[in-house]
């Protein structure tokens, strides 16, 4: 299988605690792969290693055949790995439109321009509006981001990620802290993304959602890769069930 993003023996430890332990895996192009596992299994840490917020103690991260282990988060974004955060992470005192436009601008490679052609600027704004429409947030484009409801902020978060137009999307619990009524809208958005032929890596606790959306799953447990495979295989995997129910006595 052709992997767009791969990890080799990826390990990170803090103090004496090994948070991610020798994970070797790959993420197939244009598929959605979810990472599941009990609390403290190292899922978010693993994400941070993929996006560059953390540097591994050992091991490598490869993206499209390039070793990106030592690249900074902003460099990885420019290469085409975008991420959303578990905690809502937007620019609170900028408008919704401005939030997205900043992402569009980065994607367009406009980093240091001072004087600017207004037509081109208009284009960026149009693109931002299109994306806001896609996540059903266009009617709020003039609001300051801090005045959105929680669910709307999550949508904005995803809109910014879309604007980056990254090939690989890392979604860290996109429904965290949402009320139940808000969840289906987000699922729709993710489903839409899947159809656009992007590679998506998802951390999510809402199990029904994971099983429904994922092409494949990987299970982390105590920082190690316990199992990977299709949702069916994982469901049938005894070890995984045990890990969840807590009877598991692994070798360590």
């Amino acid at each position: 299988m052709e992997y767009i993003l791969e990890t080799k023996d990826l390990t990170v430890s803090f103090g004496g605690h090994v948070a991610v332990n020798g994970v070797t895996t790959g993420f197939p192009k244009n598929q959605l792969k979810s990472i599941i596992g009990p609390n403290g299994a190292g899922k978010t840490t693993f994400f941070n290693l993929l996006s560059g917020q953390l540097k591994p103690t050992k091991g490598e991260v490869w993206f499209k055949g390039i070793d990106i282990t030592h690249r900074s988060p902003d460099a990885r974004t420019r290469l085409g790995i975008g991420r959303s955060f578990q905690i809502t992470n937007v620019f609170p005192n900028l408008t919704v439109l401005e939030n997205v436009r900043l992402a569009v601008q980065s994607q367009a490679g406009i980093h240091y321009q001072l004087l600017f052609h207004f037509k081109k600027y208009r284009k960026l704004e149009e693109r931002a509006h299109q994306i806001l429409e896609k996540v059903m947030l266009d009617h709020k484009s003039d609001f300051l981001a801090k005045n959105l409801t929680h669910g709307e902020k999550r949508k904005l978060e995803i809109a910014m990620l879309l604007a980056l137009d990254s090939e690989v999307l890392l979604l860290d619990e996109p429904t965290a802290g949402m009320s139940l009524e808000e969840v289906p809208a987000i699922i729709e958005v993710i489903r839409g993304l899947k159809q656009e032929n992007r590679t998506i890596i998802l951390i999510e606790h809402k199990v029904e959602m994971v099983l429904d959306l994922s092409d494949s799953l990987m299970v982390l447990f105590n920082g190690q890769l316990l199992a990977e495979g299709s949702p069916d295989e994982i469901l049938r995997n005894e070890r995984v069930q045990e890990a969840y129910l807590g009877g598991l006595h692994d070798a360590s």
Partner: protein
């Protein structure tokens, strides 16, 4: 009833984390709080401790409303807390960690300390070491000791098995079994084997709400319930 939590709702920033949690902790028992990741178990404990005060609902401890008190006052009422990450003071020695928690140095406290050190002989041998250098299991024991040395009628213990090797988990279970005879425990645990070995009653949390409660024995025998609420399917 030692502790009564009634319909609490808690926000963290704007996240509506607890959306109505109610539970009762009878004295002398181990009450277990179960539920999947992100269900709101840790937040429930932190809300009881006053670290993330509830926006709605009330918390009654020994007949007294405590949900508006600051954390230190709640602790002084007699609730001990053993957090998920153990909350060890890494730069202090084991001895000093325990001393921070000892507000009295009377004979009774000294007796209790002696009992604790019998319970966790490891701590005695690392008495003057920096707590940051302890293993995960030892940190867990130290954290428990701090809550015990205060003679709290209730202790809240958050996932003591997390990140520990199975052998160590067994040790912690044994210790908690003995501790159980001395104080009431509200335990958050994802490791079902551990929960069922210790628990008398259980509550299941999901989506920030208490969904189900009953005796631990019943739950242990009901595979379907277990899978539905605790497994991945």
């Amino acid at each position: 009833m030692l502790l009564k939590v009634e319909q609490i709702e808690t926000y963290i920033d704007q996240h509506h984390i607890l959306q109505g949690v109610s539970l009762e902790v009878p004295a002398g028992q181990v009450t277990v709080l179960l539920g999947r990741n992100g269900a709101g178990k840790t937040t429930t404990l932190r809300t009881i401790m006053g670290m993330t005060p509830p926006a709605k609902g009330q918390i009654i401890f020994q007949g007294e409303a405590i949900h508006q008190l600051p954390t230190h006052a709640i602790a002084q009422k007699g609730i001990g807390y053993v957090p998920e990450d153990q909350g060890i003071f890494a730069d202090l020695t084991v001895e000093e960690n325990i001393k921070v928690a000892m507000h009295k140095e009377d004979a009774e406290t000294k007796d209790r300390l002696a009992w604790i050190l019998d319970l966790f002989p490891d701590l005695k041998s690392f008495w003057e070491r920096k707590a940051g250098n302890l293993s995960g299991g030892q940190k867990q024991m130290l954290s428990l000791s701090r809550a015990l040395v205060q003679n709290n009628p209730l202790i809240l213990v958050d996932e003591p098995s997390k990140g520990l090797a199975p052998v160590v988990v067994d040790k912690v279970v044994d210790a908690l079994k003995e501790i159980k005879d001395h104080t009431t425990i509200l335990l958050v645990e994802q490791n079902f084997a551990m929960a069922s070995a210790l628990g008398d009653r259980f509550y299941i949390l999901d989506n920030g709400q208490t969904q189900l409660s009953g005796s631990m024995q019943e739950l242990a025998q009901n595979e379907e319930l277990k899978r539905k609420w605790l497994g991945i399917a």
